[in-house]
């Protein structure tokens, strides 16, 4: 059976939803980052699939940008996580509530 565009999109949105669920439910900051990463990659998969099925190169360029951005985001995110760990002696996101109104 030859995979269709629809199956790729379904897979991509499935990965996105898993990532969203992880990002919303994990209290561990690293888990949160992993969730965000999953969401981004679900979107990337969509982009690559579009490129494959339309023959346009634009989507691939976009996907490359997205990957580069995600990497940069993880770098900053992990740096923040390390700082949170130093400050609160833990990476539970519930510990970080300085902005409570």
């Amino acid at each position: 059976m030859i995979p269709t565009l629809q199956s790729y999109l379904l897979l991509g949105s499935g990965i996105f939803c898993l990532g969203l669920f992880a990002a919303l439910s994990r209290r561990n900051a690293v888990g949160l980052l992993v969730g965000i990463e999953l969401m981004a990659n679900g979107v990337n998969l969509n982009l690559v699939a579009f490129s494959r099925f339309t023959g346009l190169i634009d989507y691939q360029v976009f996907a490359l940008f997205s990957i580069a951005l995600t990497v940069a985001e993880v770098v900053v995110g992990l740096a923040i996580v390390i700082l949170i760990f130093r400050h609160h002696r833990g990476i539970d996101t519930d510990l970080v509530s300085e902005f409570e109104g």
């Binding site: 969203l20 990002a23 919303l24 209290r27 949160l32 996101t93 519930d94 970080v96 509530s97 300085e98 902005f99 409570e100 109104g101």
Partner: protein
């Protein structure tokens, strides 16, 4: 040098000096340097003005300079121009302003020499500012520039009246002058706005006036502009500020409140005559208010005991003559009298200043017998007094007769009668001042009086020469702006001169022949006029109406407008307090909000589709 360069020098050099002295306190507080710069600028202005006057003489009745810069352009069309407009009227007025300003500044070098250096420098800074504003007003090509300079001379007047600002009466006088003229200036502003709305220009030229007349707003604009003239030129009932303005230093009174600034109102009348002449009602009002002021102020001047107050009311009265003359619809009489009056009234004030400098008092009772002690001052003062009284051959004789003849010719009998009576009273009160101050037994203060120094006597002599001579050049002066004037001895002139002699004679009978005699019978009348009803009426109006209206406005401001502000601030505070609970500080909650928002957006997009 071209006319444009000369005009730039005449107008902008003083303001450069004022600016330099303003931003560099080191120059100003030294005093002498500031004064030197200021006098130098006035000298350059006067020289430029005289050269321009020479050019105008060579080409009478033409516009020798019409240079305008565009300001506020809209759709390529200039909304307002600023620049120079020099014709026969403005060039000769520029000469009057510059010459009197220069002489007054030189006089001030002597008169103000006892001031501390910082005050001395401040005084000359204000003087330079005034010279710039007044010159800018004179050369104004349209009402907008005239209005700006009009306000600037008002500012200079405020600053100079309040020069001794530590004295409460001087500070109050400055504020009073400012408010009264400011009230009148509303008329100028409204008039200009209506003029612009109707004609699309700030011009007083014939085309604009034709459009204005066609639109039917000529009377309104004319009366509003006349309100401004009443304020600036101290016409009844807005004359109140002028006597109080005598709190300023005497040379200031000579320059601003006698010769030039108060004449700015009459100058506006001369310049914008087409606007006024477009409406007979305006002219009628001008003639009658001017005539009444001439008589009223002359009556008040008779009973003043302060030499400067006499001269102040005399200025009111003479300005009344000019305004009445404007009411005939012709400019030559008013303008000629403006020119001559500027010289002889500046002379009178400066000579009075010299006397005050000698006896250290303004009061006539502290003077007496000064003729022997202050020869130059006395002789020049008497020349000025004769010119003011219209003694045949002096400057005032020609110009006052011209005004009276014009009034008679225009069949304005009430102003004519007022003018005739005022001519008699003028001679009487000037005779009174001369006999009380310079003859008779000297008072204690007058014993030690002595003649003032050179910086003070030289301007006096020059102004005295001008007061004697300028009257003979009436024909040439009128020719500069294309008016016809030839002196001829008319019945009016003979009667006015006879009344003048009668006034001087009566003054001699009352004050000269038997020195020290006081007119006790006239004291009650004098008191009524002196502590006059006008001031009280204004006070009552001020207290009842203006303060009452202010109280209402203040309530509205405090409880309605401020209340609205306070209410919105209160809502903000309460709203913030209630909404702070939504800020949990936990990242997850924010992400939930984010996703929720995303879902709402998607759903709305879906439904919209």
């Amino acid at each position: 040098m071209s006319a444009l360069n000369l005009a730039c020098v005449a107008v902008f050099l003083p303001v450069c000096v004022a600016g330099i002295l303003w931003v560099i306190p080191a120059l100003r507080t030294r005093g002498r340097i500031g004064a030197f710069l200021s006098v130098l600028a006035a000298l350059a202005s006067t020289a430029s003005a005289l050269i321009l006057f020479g050019m105008q003489r060579a080409a009478p009745n033409t516009v020798i300079l019409d240079a305008q810069a565009r300001w506020l352009t809209r759709e390529g069309r200039s909304m307002a121009d600023v620049g120079f407009y020099l014709d026969g009227v403005s060039t000769s007025m520029l000469v009057v302003v510059c010459v009197v300003a220069l002489l007054v500044q030189i006089f001030s070098l002597g008169y103000m020499a006892d001031e501390p250096p910082a005050a001395f420098g401040r005084y000359f800074t204000y003087h330079s500012l005034f010279l710039f504003s007044m010159a800018g007003l004179v050369v104004a090509p349209n009402l907008l520039q005239l209005f700006m300079c009009w306000e600037l001379v008002g500012l200079a007047s405020y600053l100079l009246i309040g020069f001794y600002f530590k004295k409460p009466s001087a500070a109050r006088a400055a504020v009073k002058a400012f408010w009264v003229t400011k009230f009148a200036d509303m008329g100028l502003l409204l008039g200009i706005i209506i003029l612009y709305a109707q004609t699309g220009s700030f011009s007083w030229g014939p085309e604009a006036v034709a459009t204005l007349t066609a639109s039917g707003a000529a009377t309104a604009v004319g009366l509003l502009l006349f309100l401004a003239i009443m304020g600036k030129s101290a016409q009844f009932p807005l004359h109140l500020w002028l006597p109080d303005a005598m709190e300023g230093p005497t040379p200031v009174s000579a320059l601003l409140h006698a010769a030039t600034m108060v004449a700015a109102g009459v100058y506006l009348g001369v310049r914008a005559m087409p606007v006024f002449a477009a409406s007979d009602q305006t002219l009628w009002v001008m003639a009658h208010i001017g005539g009444f002021t001439a008589l009223f102020a002359a009556c008040v001047a008779v009973v003043q005991t302060d030499i400067k107050k006499v001269l102040a009311y005399s200025t009111c009265s003479q300005l009344g003559y000019m305004v009445a003359a404007l009411g005939t619809g012709e400019i030559v009489g008013a303008y000629f009298h403006l020119t001559t009056h500027a010289y002889f009234k500046a002379l009178l004030f400066l000579a009075a200043g010299s006397v005050i400098h000698g006896v250290h008092s303004n009061q006539l009772q502290d003077m007496g017998g000064l003729f022997g002690k202050m020869k130059i001052t006395a002789i020049t003062f008497i020349i000025g007094a004769l010119a003011l009284a219209g003694f045949p051959g002096t400057a005032g004789f020609f110009s006052k007769d011209l005004i009276l003849e014009q009034l008679l010719h225009a069949e304005l009998f009430f102003p004519y009668a007022c003018g005739m009576t005022a001519a008699f009273l003028t001679a009487f009160y000037m005779g009174r001042v001369v006999f009380l101050a310079f003859f008779g037994p000297p008072s204690e203060a007058a014993q030690e009086a002595h003649e003032s120094g050179f910086p003070m006597t030289i301007p006096l002599v020059l102004l005295a020469a001008l007061s004697l001579g300028i009257g003979f050049f009436g024909t040439q002066l009128a020719g500069l702006y294309g008016a016809e004037y030839h002196f001829h001895l008319s019945p009016t002139g003979i009667v006015a001169s006879a009344l003048g002699f009668l006034g001087i004679g009566l003054a001699w009978m009352a004050f000269g022949r038997r020195p020290g005699m006081n007119l006790s019978a006239f004291q009650p009348i004098g008191n009524i006029i002196r502590y006059g009803a006008t001031d009280r009426i204004f006070k009552a109006v001020y207290e009842r109406i203006i303060l009452g209206a202010s109280a209402v406005l203040s309530w509205i401001d405090r409880y309605l407008i401020d209340g609205l502000m306070n209410w919105s601030a209160y809502i903000t505070v309460v709203g913030g307090r209630e909404l702070r609970g939504s800020q949990t500080g936990r990242i997850m909650d924010y992400v939930y909000f984010l996703v929720f928002g995303l879902l709402v957006l998607s759903a709305s997009g879906w439904i919209g589709q």
